[in-house]
């Protein structure tokens, strides 16, 4: 129970304190504290999975553990990053920003630990709402527009997800047993007796609903605007954590379908949306001049890869779950360094930002490395997961899918390389504007830590992690507890 309290409570309390405190310069320090406690709890989970609590409404299984770990790690480094970032953005009131970051952590922890589809949905909704002020942080016209789009589409998606949850309820009803009918364990236990049409409907609505939050095409169009306008750190949180939690929602739905013997139906949809997302990303990454929007599309692409992987069966699910981690970490690197470059040049298009290697050498190098990593080059971690997904496609005899996968990866690489190289290389064409220039230790430590993790997992995948991944893939593909 204490673990759950730490996971949910610590960030919540930190957020509330941040709301109450009046001093802009002390406020941010509560974030790292809360994140440290949170990470401590997560480590405890790795040591020994905690018992179910609140009559089984809270439990952490392998799948949740992965997402939770990713969220905790990203938040820890981002909170460190924020210390310096917010110091640089002095003058802008960071009360809401800090508080909302903490609330998001609490909400995503809720999503991870809850064993109830309704509770999971509540967590998702809370996270969505709490993220809005982050997007809005810059308070200019563009950020308002981005926030508006984010809210409208997000709320619509979340509404659809709620509807999907209702469908699930209708699929399981009438139910007269212990516990709430929407408990995941109940659903899995009665998977055989669920009403198929309602379940199918539920999966479709949950996929579209949570898929909107993930940013799967064609529900992706809020993503470039939001990521483009939000500060780099917010982008990292959105692209690394919230999307992963939304994916967790999809995974839960898939888990139930698989248990109910609807795996093929679900996989078909996932493969379809996966390839669609990659194609859309490819189309928009080519010739993209704004490197933050480019990252957003790359995020769309990788969400597609995740969906595709799960759609390709057990081996693919293993790879997809691994890719969930790798993508989150690498995206963290990319967004944080992109934020640094953006600030150093006062612009986020190739026209403003050019020759970053000269002005912010370390950030630019990390940005370049992150790009190389995210496009699946060894020896970085995403290579392993993408290669495994390719292998699972080939092994499954899905040669068409494999061909599309490789082809789209190539196109996307071409698009990204063109932008990234022109941002990183060359000589800056204008004099640095603004008071703050160059690299800052804290704002480098965060991406540096993430990058080293990416390299490490690229050359060495610890047994413990592999075991958890295997367990998660097993759970995912229709194994009843």
């Amino acid at each position: 129970m204490t673990i759950y309290l730490l996971l949910l409570g610590a960030p919540l309390v930190a957020g509330l304190i941040a709301l109450l405190i009046d001093r802009d310069e002390i406020r941010p320090w509560f974030l790292p504290a809360a994140c440290a406690i949170h990470s401590y709890a997560v480590v405890a989970c790795w040591v020994r999975l905690p018992e179910p609590a609140v009559s089984g409404w809270f439990r952490i299984d392998a799948i949740a553990l992965l997402v939770l770990t990713l969220a905790s790690a990203l938040f820890l480094v981002c909170s460190v990053y924020c210390l310096e970032y917010l110091r640089l953005r002095r003058g802008r009131d960071n009360r809401l920003f800090t508080a909302c970051l903490a609330f998001i952590l609490s909400a995503v922890s809720l999503v991870c630990v809850s064993r109830h589809m309704g509770l999971l949905w509540v967590g998702m909704e809370a996270a969505t709402l709490a993220a809005a002020p982050l997007v809005h942080f810059n308070h200019n016209e563009k950020s308002i527009e981005a926030t508006w789009k984010y809210l409208m589409m997000g709320s619509l998606g979340i509404g659809l997800a709620l509807l999907g949850t209702f469908f699930l309820a209708l699929a399981v009803l009438p139910y007269t047993g212990p516990g709430d009918p929407l408990m995941i364990d109940v659903l899995l236990a009665r998977a055989g007796m669920l009403s198929v049409p309602w379940l199918k409907g539920a999966f479709i609505f949950l996929l579209v609903g949570y898929g909107t939050k993930m940013g799967l095409a064609p529900m992706h169009s809020w993503k470039p605007d939001t990521y483009g306008e939000a500060p780099g750190v917010a982008g990292a949180i959105l692209a690394g954590v919230i999307t992963s939690c939304a994916f967790l929602g999809v995974l839960r739905a898939f888990q139930i379908c698989a248990a109910a013997g609807l795996a093929d139906f679900a996989r078909g949809l996932l493969v379809l949306m996966g390839l669609l997302s990659m194609a859309v990303a490819a189309a928009f990454i080519i010739g993209q001049r704004d490197f933050k929007r480019m990252l957003a599309y790359s995020s769309v692409e990788h969400m597609g890869i995740l969906a595709l992987g799960v759609g390709l069966g057990p081996a693919g699910s293993f790879a997809a779950l691994l890719h969930l981690l790798n993508n989150g970490l690498t995206k963290g690197v990319l967004f944080l360094t992109a934020g640094n470059i953006h600030r150093a040049f006062g612009g986020k298009t190739m026209d403003h930002a050019h020759g970053a290697l000269r002005r912010v050498p370390i950030s630019a190098t990390l940005f370049l490395l992150g790009f190389v990593a995210i496009t699946g080059s060894p020896p970085f971690a995403p290579f392993i997961s993408e290669f495994s997904i390719l292998r699972s496609a080939v092994d499954g005899g899905r040669f068409g899918v494999a061909f599309g996968f490789v082809g789209l990866l190539a196109v996307i690489f071409i698009g990204m390389a063109t932008t990234v190289l022109s941002v990183v290389y060359g000589t800056p064409n204008d004099q640095p504007q603004g008071p703050v220039q160059g690299d800052f230790p804290f704002m480098l430590m965060a991406p540096l830590a993430l990058m080293s993790a990416v390299v490490f997992f690229g050359v060495w995948l610890p047994e413990g992690l592999t075991a958890v991944l295997g367990e998660a893939a097993r759970l995912l593909n229709g194994v009843r507890p």
């Binding site: 508006w148 789009k149 409208m152 589409m153 619509l156 049409p197 199918k200 409907g201 479709i204 609505f205 579209v208 909107t212 064609p218 529900m219 169009s221 809020w222 470039p224 605007d225 139906f265 949809l269 859309v280 189309a283 928009f284 080519i286 010739g287 293993f318 790879a319 290697l357 190389v372 496009t375 080059s377 060894p378 020896p379 290579f383 392993i384 290669f387 495994s388 390719l390 292998r391 080939v394 092994d395 040669f399 494999a402 490789v406 990866l409 190539a410 690489f413 071409i414 390389a417 063109t418 190289l421 290389y425 060359g426 000589t427 690229g458 060495w460 995948l461 610890p462 047994e463 592999t466």
Partner: protein, 658 residues
């Protein structure tokens, strides 16, 4: 095998250390030279063991990555390439120190050193890796460090362009290789090379796909036409020692991959062999044609790399044909010719790139029209260049001839006539290629080194420091030595060919003895040429000692006021040859003929655009953009439309799937 690990580790450590101590030039230099020397010693020891047939047990380590095993092994095939990598890498690296020092900060020292050592280390690991994942890791490390080298001087726009092009090409190639290994792994149930070899043959369709992927993946790196687009851009862009390593060994890695794949996958159908032969001939012919008409020294060399790769590919194709025809001796001959030429090419091409670098630093330009008469200022460089040029033309007393001779004797051997109708035409094309090579390199060497200086810089040019000359000297000596005494290298090449053709040691031995006896005669005649030359030279000197030797201006056929600008220019030199084949390479000439009795002005300009880069690639890109601009219109920033997509998609799915 621990020797290999030690070598790779040495290189890696010295790479990092040289990066860390980049401020202390002296330390970094010692680190680089020392690291390369140690690595070369260790690797050389290992390779010589493997080549002497002492079985070196593989080394396998647990590697906690799905499908991956840290599995390295060495066989003659690996040993040949390992030796080549360490030799050329070592020479280029040592030279590079002088080059960096002399560039006065134009070449950023830290990245140049770091990426170069990384490149060598990656290639050393690559040729010994026995697991697909390890192979890919080494492969990509190689590709990326080469990218780092190419974009060292990224302040120049053309360098950035070249770097981007190279990166795109190499990554597309790597993706093809990933797909290839996925297919092979699917068939073998494991990513171990051994499993690939043991696996049942693929079904026809997959086989064709795998072959195509391999050809694109490895060919993109090796630079066959028309996959060569990056090559002639990237090699000039990189610092010269890097270009030497890239052109001398990195592109050979593509060929190594091809050979390794053949060694694993066994005989290929005759049609495939024919495809390889045709591709090789096309690369050779067009490569050298484009080389002939270049003005940029390093670009010319890059194109000639395409040519040599084509010749090597031709040899590989011949070997495959031998396998398909069920004649191991033919297969051995073809493969060993290819491998021998690979080794030779590595040597003389790196020599030429290094000397080109020296010329570039001395004159400050790569345009041969601005050089000329360097022979006076830099006799060493030019002499070594001349040797390299003669070698790359495949002229007898030098090493270039040996490999081509093997390939010729495959093509012209009596039983090749029957059933292999392509043999004779291939021989003819090879002859044309040889003649064109003479044109190209007599042009480059003659225009740059000989005659009168065409610019002040050329007049003032001086030989580089010994640290740059020594490696070039070593390579040149090797060119001569292999030319007159090819047997040891031939033995290695045959042993490697035995691996590729899956022929047992004894079977290799018989063929090797036959061919080494013949090549020994060639070598002896080479000795004869040298000694006869020396004899005549001394005789001539004796004769001239008795008589006086006068000096005067060049005979201008009565015209006495000749200037340097009246020399035959390097651009016009190949024109008579190029005119004959202009239709093939699309040379364009803009002529403004002199008119009237007192013509005021006249001009002549000819340029030969690279078809792949300037003709079909832009078209492709344009079409591509057209295709992509359609969906791009869908993201118009209107919230309502986005919502529309979402709802329509939802309803459609509901109606379709529910």
């Amino acid at each position: 095998m621990s020797l290999l690990l030690a070598a790779v580790a040495t290189l890696g450590v010295s790479a990092v250390a040289s990066f860390v101590f980049s401020r202390r030039a002296a330390w970094a230099r010692t680190l680089v030279v020392g690291g390369l020397a140690v690595a070369a010693a260790l690797g050389g020891l290992l390779a010589s063991r493997a080549l002497r047939g002492q079985g070196v047990p593989d080394l396998t380590g647990i590697w906690l990555v799905p499908g991956a095993v840290f599995h390295v092994g060495i066989d003659p095939l690996s040993a040949c390439f390992l030796l080549l990598v360490l030799l050329v890498g070592g020479c280029a690296g040592v030279y590079g120190e002088g080059y960096i020092a002399a560039s006065h900060g134009h070449v950023p020292a830290a990245p140049a050193r770091f990426f170069f050592l990384l490149l060598v280390a990656a290639m050393a690991l690559l040729v010994c890796s026995r697991n697909a994942v390890l192979f890919m890791v080494a492969w990509e490390t190689m590709a990326l460090s080469a990218f780092g080298l190419v974009s060292c001087e990224h302040d120049k726009p053309e360098v950035r362009k070249a770097g981007l092009l190279y990166l795109l090409c190499t990554h597309v190639g790597s993706l093809c290789l990933l797909a290839l290994f996925a297919i092979l792994g699917h068939n073998a149930g494991s990513l171990e090379f051994g499993a690939f070899a043991a696996a049942p043959t693929l079904p026809a369709a997959l086989r064709a796909a795998a072959f195509l992927l391999a050809l694109i993946g490895f060919g993109m790196k090796a630079g066959f036409m028309p996959l060569h687009i990056w090559l002639q851009e990237a090699h000039p862009a990189a610092p010269s020692h890097a270009s030497a390593a890239m052109s001398g060994i990195m592109i050979e890695m593509g060929l190594y991959g091809l050979l390794r794949l053949l060694a694993l996958s066994g005989p290929v159908p005759a049609g495939v062999a024919l495809i390889l032969v045709v591709a090789g001939l096309a690369s050779a012919l067009f490569g050298i044609m484009f080389a002939m008409v270049q003005r940029d020294l390093k670009r010319l060399l890059a194109y000639s790399s395409i040519e040599n790769v084509g010749i090597i590919l031709l040899g590989v194709g011949l070997g495959c044909h031998g396998l398909a025809a069920g004649s191991p001796s033919l297969a051995l001959l073809g493969f060993s010719g290819a491998i021998l030429h690979t080794i030779n090419h590595g040597i003389f091409k790196s020599l030429l790139f290094l000397s080109a670098g020296a010329v570039y630093q001395a004159v400050g330009t790569r345009d041969i029209e601005a050089c000329g008469g360097l022979q006076r200022g830099m006799p060493w460089t030019c002499g070594l260049t001349a040797i390299g040029a003669a070698a790359i033309c495949g002229l007898p007393p030098l090493n270039g001839f040996t490999g081509e001779w093997l390939i010729y004797s495959w093509l012209l051997r009596p039983d090749a006539g029957s059933g292999m109708r392509f043999a004779a035409p291939a021989a003819a094309v090879l002859a044309i290629v040889g003649a064109f090579a003479v044109v190209a390199f007599s042009k480059s060497c003659g225009t740059a080194c000989l005659g009168q200086p065409r610019s002040e810089a050329a007049r003032a040019a001086q030989d580089p420091s010994w640290i740059m000359l020594a490696p070039m000297l070593l390579l040149a000596v090797l060119c001569v030595a292999i030319g007159v005494f090819p047997q040891p290298v031939l033995r290695a090449a045959f042993a490697a060919a035995g691996d590729v053709a899956r022929v047992s040691g004894s079977g290799v031995g018989a063929d090797f003895d036959q061919w080494s006896r013949l090549l020994a005669v060639v070598g002896l005649l080479g000795v004869g040429v040298w000694s006869m030359g020396a004899l005549l030279w001394t005789w001539r000197n004796l004769l001239l000692r008795r008589r006086g030797v006068g000096h005067g201006p060049t005979w201008g056929c009565g015209f006495t006021a000749g200037t340097a600008r009246m020399q035959y220019s390097g651009s016009s030199y190949p024109v008579p040859t190029a005119r004959v084949f202009a239709s093939l390479i699309g040379t364009r000439e803009e002529v403004q003929a002199p008119v009237g009795y007192w013509p005021a002005q006249a001009s002549f300009a000819s340029r030969t655009p690279d078809p792949a880069l300037e003709l079909w690639l832009p078209v492709l890109v344009r079409r591509f953009n057209v295709w992509l601009s359609a969906p791009r219109r869908l993201q118009h920033g209107r919230l309502q439309i986005s919502l529309l997509y979402m709802s329509v998609f939802l309803v459609a799915i509901l109606l379709w799937k529910l």
